[in-house]
C-alpha cells in the first residue's frame, strides 16, 4: 500500500463513499483524507476526484468481505457528525477485511478505538432520543416532533417509533438537517423538507391541556430535598432542552 498526498472526493452519498473506498483499496492507495465534494480545500491541500463505479451491490460485497456487524458499524459512523469520519471508515474497513469480526476486540489497531467510540456515540444519542423526543398532536390526529440531534439518527429513531406507535400517523423533523420522516401507519420514509412541506402545524384542541398536565407532573415529581441540578444536566444536557417541552419554563428562567 502506498500513501497518497491527495484528498479524495466522493459524491456525498454513502454508496459513493463505499465505491470510492473499494477503488482506493484496489489501487492500493492510502489516502491523506476522504471528503465529500462540498469540501473546501485550503491552499496546501490537493483534491482528486476518481472515476469510481456507481454500484449498489457494494453493500453486499462489503458484508461478504467483512461482516454484517462491520457494515452496521461503518453506516453508523457515516451518520455521525465527526469531521474525519470518512477516513476512519476507510481504515476500519481495510482492517476488517483482514480480521473480520475480531476487529471489534482489536482496539490497539490504528483507528479502531476511534471508530468504535463514534459508533457508541451514535447509538447512545439514538437511545437518548427514544426518550427525549416529544410529539405534539396536530389537527387531524397527526403526531409531530422536532429534533436537533448531533448525529443523523432520524432513521434509527424512526424505526423505534414505527414499532411503538404503529397505529398512529406521525412525522419527525430533523431541523438541523432539514429532513423529515413520515409514517403512514405502515411504512416510514425519509425525505428532505425541500420535497415535502407541512401545510399546517396547528395544534389539536386538547394539546395545550395535555402539555399543561405533563408540565405540572414534571414539576411535582421532583423531591425538593434532593435537588441536584448537576446530576440532571449530566443525564439531560442543555443542548437537548429546546424540544423537551417540559423544560421550556426552565429555559425562560435561565435566560
Amino acid at each position: 500500500m502506498k500513501k497518497s498526498n491527495y484528498i479524495f472526493l466522493y459524491n456525498n452519498e454513502f454508496i459513493d463513499l463505499l465505491n470510492l473506498i473499494k477503488l482506493l483499496i484496489k489501487k492500493r492507495i492510502i489516502p491523506l483524507n476522504i471528503k465529500n465534494d462540498k469540501y473546501q480545500a485550503n491552499l496546501f491541500e490537493e483534491t482528486l476526484k476518481l472515476d469510481y463505479e456507481q454500484d449498489d451491490n457494494i453493500i453486499n460485497e462489503i458484508i461478504k468481505a467483512s461482516s454484517k456487524e462491520v457494515f452496521n458499524t461503518i453506516y453508523k459512523i457515516f451518520l455521525s457528525n465527526k469531521d474525519d469520519k470518512e477516513i476512519i471508515i476507510y481504515y476500519f474497513l481495510l482492517q476488517s477485511f483482514k480480521y473480520k469480526n475480531k476487529i471489534f476486540y482489536m482496539r490497539n489497531l490504528c483507528g479502531v478505538n476511534e471508530a468504535l467510540k463514534i459508533t457508541k456515540y451514535v447509538e447512545h444519542e439514538t437511545h437518548k432520543f427514544k426518550g427525549f423526543l416529544r410529539f405534539k398532536e396536530l389537527k387531524g390526529n397527526i403526531l409531530y416532533a422536532e429534533i436537533e440531534p448531533e448525529n443523523n439518527i432520524l432513521f434509527f429513531v424512526s424505526k423505534h417509533f414505527q414499532r411503538r406507535l404503529k397505529n398512529e400517523y406521525w412525522i419527525i423533523e430533523d431541523k438541523k438537517r432539514n429532513l423529515l420522516s413520515i409514517y403512514d401507519k405502515n411504512k416510514f420514509f425519509l425525505t428532505s423538507t425541500e420535497n415535502f412541506t407541512l401545510m399546517q402545524k396547528e395544534l389539536s384542541e386538547c394539546e395545550e391541556d395535555v402539555l399543561e398536565l405533563w408540565k405540572s407532573f414534571y414539576k411535582t415529581i421532583a423531591i425538593k430535598e434532593r435537588t441536584n441540578e448537576r446530576c440532571r444536566m449530566n443525564f439531560m444536557p442543555k443542548k437537548y432542552w429546546k424540544y423537551i417541552i417540559e423544560m421550556s419554563d426552565e429555559i425562560e428562567k435561565n435566560s
Binding site: Y105, K130, G131, F135, W214, Y218, T220, K224, T227, N234
Partner: protein, 402 residues
C-alpha cells in the same frame, strides 16, 4: 377538583418511591406501545432522578398510619382518588406524545387490601384491554391482598412489587404498626413461584427507607442479600429518608443521607454483578460503609495481598475485584487479550478508566509507577483524593439509578 390538581396531589404522594426502571420486559402488542428491554428514560427531574414512568397513586386516602408516610391517616392533607378512566386517559395521552414509557401505579389502602387491589386491577385491565396499551406497567401489590387478585394483577403488568419499607421487623413495628413483613414476604414468594413470560415478565423489585430507623448498613445489606436469594428480586431500591412528618418516633435530620444511600447502591451492585458476599464487604466490627471510599476500593485496601493483579492473565472474577473495573471493562479485557498483550497504553485506547484501577494492576508485569508506591497508605490517600474531587465536580449519586 380538576384533573390537574388531582394529578398534582397523587404524583406528589407517589414521588418518594425510588423505583423508576422500565427495563426487563419485551412486550409487543397489537395496539399502541411496546417495551424496551434496556428501559428508556424520558426525562430527568430537578433532583436528577430519571422519569420513565407516570408515577402516581390511585388514591392517597389510607386506613393505615405509618409514621414516615405523607399519606398516613392522621395527616391533615388534601385527599384525591383517580377513576379508572382518568388513569387511562392520562397514560394514553402521555404515552402517545412520548412523555413516558408507561405507568407506575401504587395506592393508599381504602377499606381493605382486597378492595384496593380490585380498584388497581380495574384501572389496568381497562388500560390493557380497552385501550390496548402495550407499554410498561409497574404496579404495587397491596400486602394482605388475596392470591387470586395478585394472580389477576400479575397477568396484566410487567413488574409487580411490594415494598419492604424498613429493613427489620422491629423497625416496621415501630413506624408502620399496621404493616407486617410476612405479608410482603408472601407476595414476593407468590410472584417468584409463578413468574413467567405472561406473569410479571419484568420480575419484582422492592424498596427500603434508609435512615428512618436505627439499622446499620450490615442489617440492610443482609436483608437485601436474602431478598435476592430467596425471592430472586430484580432490584432492591434504597431511599434516603426524607422527613415529611413530625413524630417523636422519627429521627430529625438536616439532610437526607444521600451519600449513605449511594454507598448502599454501590454495594448492591457488588452483590448482584461482582460476585461479592455481604460478609466480605461488611462485618460486625465494621457494620457501616466507609463514607470516604467506595465499598470495592475499601475492600481492596483491606486485601492488598491479593493485588496487584496482572491484567493479561487474571480471571474474569479477579478482574471484577479490581476497583474501577466494571463488567463492561472486564469483558472487554478478556476478549481483547486473546489477540494481543495489553499494556497501559492499550487500556486507555480500550476506553478503560484507570483512575482507580491503576493502583491495583500490572500490565505485562509492570506497575504504572515505581513499585515501592504500592503501599496501602499511599493508595488510600490517593483514592480518597480522587473521590473528593469527583464528588465536588460531579455525579455524586444516582448514576446507578437505571
Amino acid at each position: 377538583m380538576d384533573l390537574k390538581e388531582k394529578l398534582t396531589i397523587l404524583a406528589d404522594s407517589a414521588k418518594y418511591d425510588a423505583s423508576c426502571s422500565s427495563s426487563g420486559s419485551n412486550r409487543k402488542s397489537n395496539g399502541i406501545g411496546n417495551t424496551a428491554v434496556a428501559g428508556i428514560c424520558h426525562s430527568f427531574s430537578a433532583d436528577g432522578r430519571c422519569i420513565s414512568l407516570l408515577k402516581i397513586l390511585l388514591t392517597n386516602c389510607c386506613i393505615y398510619d405509618c409514621k414516615y408516610c405523607l399519606n398516613r391517616r392522621t395527616n391533615n392533607i388534601k385527599r384525591a382518588t383517580f377513576t379508572s378512566l382518568e388513569i387511562c386517559s392520562i397514560t394514553m395521552n402521555f404515552y402517545r406524545r412520548n412523555y413516558i414509557e408507561g405507568l407506575f401505579i401504587s395506592s393508599g389502602i381504602i377499606k381493605s387490601p382486597d378492595y384496593t387491589m380490585n380498584l388497581i386491577i380495574d384501572a389496568i385491565s381497562l388500560l390493557r384491554n380497552k385501550y390496548h396499551f402495550g407499554g410498561y406497567i409497574h404496579a404495587k401489590a397491596i400486602p394482605g391482598a388475596s392470591d387470586v387478585l395478585i394472580k389477576k394483577l400479575g397477568l396484566l403488568v410487567d413488574r409487580l412489587s411490594a415494598n419492604v419499607e424498613l429493613p427489620t421487623e422491629e423497625g416496621l413495628k415501630l413506624l408502620a404498626p399496621n404493616k407486617e413483613s410476612d405479608k410482603v414476604d408472601k407476595i414476593m414468594n407468590y410472584v417468584n413461584k409463578n413468574k413467567s413470560n405472561k406473569f410479571v415478565p419484568a420480575g419484582q423489585s422492592t424498596q427500603m427507607i434508609i435512615g428512618a430507623t436505627s439499622e446499620n448498613d450490615l442489617d440492610i445489606m443482609t436483608k437485601s442479600s436474602k431478598l435476592y436469594e430467596n425471592h430472586k428480586l430484580k432490584r432492591v431500591f434504597y431511599s434516603a429518608y426524607i422527613p415529611v412528618n413530625k413524630d417523636n418516633l422519627l429521627p430529625t435530620l438536616d439532610k437526607p443521607p444521600l451519600l449513605r444511600e449511594h454507598r448502599l447502591y454501590q454495594a448492591d451492585w457488588l452483590l448482584r454483578y461482582y460476585n461479592f458476599k455481604v460478609d466480605e464487604i461488611l462485618d460486625k466490627d465494621n457494620p457501616n460503609f466507609n463514607l470516604l471510599l467506595d465499598p470495592k476500593a475499601n475492600w481492596a485496601l483491606k486485601h492488598l495481598e491479593e493485588f496487584p493483579k496482572e491484567i493479561n492473565t487474571c480471571s474474569y472474577l479477579d478482574l471484577l475485584k479490581i476497583p474501577g473495573i466494571g463488567v463492561t471493562s472486564a469483558k472487554r479485557i478478556i476478549s481483547s487479550r486473546k489477540y494481543f498483550t495489553i499494556d497501559f497504553k492499550d487500556l486507555k485506547k480500550m476506553g478503560i478508566v484507570l483512575k482507580r484501577a491503576k493502583y491495583f494492576i500490572t500490565c505485562n508485569k509492570k506497575y504504572f509507577t515505581s513499585e515501592n508506591m504500592f503501599n496501602k497508605k499511599i493508595i488510600e490517600r490517593n483514592l480518597i483524593l480522587e473521590e473528593t474531587i469527583e464528588k465536588n465536580t460531579n455525579i455524586e449519586q444516582l448514576t446507578l439509578f437505571k
